[in-house]
Symmetry: C2
Subunit: 335 residues, 2 copies
Amino acid sequence: MKIDDNFYMKLAIDEAWKFQLLTYPNPAVGCVVVKAGKLLAIEAHKEAGLSHAEVNALKTAFLTQEPNSLLKVLEKSSEIHDFLIKNHNGFFEDCEIYTTLEPCNHHGKTPSCAKLLSILKPKRLIIGLIDTNKIASGGIKTLESENIDVTTKVLEKECENLLLPFKSWQNKTSIFFKMAQTLNGSIDGQISSQRAKLYVHTLRDKIDLLMIGGNSVRVDKPILDTRYVKGREPDVFIYSKNKAFSQAIPLFKVPNRKVIISDDLFKLLDYKFVMVEGVYTLLDILKDKLDFVVLIISPKIRNGVNSVNELNIDFEILHENYLGDEKIVFLKRRA
Amino acid sequence: MKIDDNFYMKLAIDEAWKFQLLTYPNPAVGCVVVKAGKLLAIEAHKEAGLSHAEVNALKTAFLTQEPNSLLKVLEKSSEIHDFLIKNHNGFFEDCEIYTTLEPCNHHGKTPSCAKLLSILKPKRLIIGLIDTNKIASGGIKTLESENIDVTTKVLEKECENLLLPFKSWQNKTSIFFKMAQTLNGSIDGQISSQRAKLYVHTLRDKIDLLMIGGNSVRVDKPILDTRYVKGREPDVFIYSKNKAFSQAIPLFKVPNRKVIISDDLFKLLDYKFVMVEGVYTLLDILKDKLDFVVLIISPKIRNGVNSVNELNIDFEILHENYLGDEKIVFLKRRA
């Protein structure tokens, strides 16, 4: 296997995918630091408000040299910025820094990464995707004005795939479909492990609205909360022509939640980030409206209600993560 | 992400999986070379008779220093061994070498890797799995007798999974099941891409015997050859009670092939390496006899003959490779 720019960029991409969707409303970004040929850091942005990928990677890289430095206990992005600016002492001058997205050029919740890098003066910046976000872009210009060597468009397609969810929620309502099944497409009974359930609760904590089919609500009587992660409870959209539901169904009793019962999909657009938890019926109804699909696959074969259906959809696999013994597959519909 | 022994061992494991089954009758092995902290080589054993993973990795690592060395054109394992012994000049003394399996200690088709390493004297050997093969084992002893620091059992479970196919064919007939399906478990019509078909032909070139159900033969009238890779044509075992088949079916016309028509599974044991190409019926019949499963998944949803069945099997995902847009999933049945 060739150990080149693509190799290191792939490490950054794979790390970023581990936090895909969890960075909402920020993009998932990964960063790798290689100092004089030595791989020192592979980090990602983990959650909005926390440090950007670049800052995490610069911190990890610097700590390999000074493991007992004060930097170790700093968590706030602005504090890490300040520390590195004062103490870098040329440490990054023989570093090559790989980032899946052009470093941000604006001071938002955290100071600008491009500004920080232009002070630390690494030997080279390798960027997967040029940022087209008007607010954050311009990082390359900032870097090049400090004579830092910048290479762009390394694994650009893969970096674009990584950014697809972010692009979907940037300017409009983002709608994704979450489904769990066995290897053979069975969706019956308890499919997922406790760990997968925890993941779903983590996703529910990020979204504004959870959409589910009326039949599922009547049959499964779900809570649809985030109790495993003690998160925010999303509003619920029950897709149903028939508006009559027993108020004893637990989902109605979750505090601070609005429940909409409707068959008007237009109402989804009142929200920013929508997860549909469903099976093939809802997938069929929504297939032209979905930005991406999150499929949880449990590696077993089961007899059960199956995916026999009239659907005919081609996907591209954007990425896959392990979730314990199961897989999360991120899919994009092919045009 | 932590950059430690596990990280580098994982790179070696993933590289080895790319050649899983293709090294038959040898084990799939991966090797990584890190020199003074710099990652120089990620290589694998690719095919029986070709150089072992360690030799490939040592060669790649050495060439990073002397890219125009004569070594570049050497392909034969014994020649690479000789070159490195004569020209290493202490190059490997600050190297850490990761190998998924204890380096072989015997002079087989190629000279012993443990012997070679004991001459090159790397700083440290990191070994995933200790070899229990009586012929090849003893590498650690050879290395330690030359005072080379040896660390063992790094990602041992993952290295064991990598070795599972090898262990299955080492002392008995190895039987694996190959199946192709869509995301939702549909097995109808043309599922796989040309690239997946090429992969299947590559597998057929490795096996001794291809088993298929009588019904598939009657309906699909297959050739079951290796024309895409111009390989060896495996013998065919048609599993069928009814022995009458039209001799016009193309598989009967492939030269140098024996075709067995039988429902006596005991006959499989006359062969060493058997691939079953089937769907759920054969999987049900053979499920207790299979060493592993190779599942090719095409990322689409299709209406079609589906995996509705009475099976109830739990698997562990050993590994997954991309095959263009599709996935190859290696599965082991859970006990």
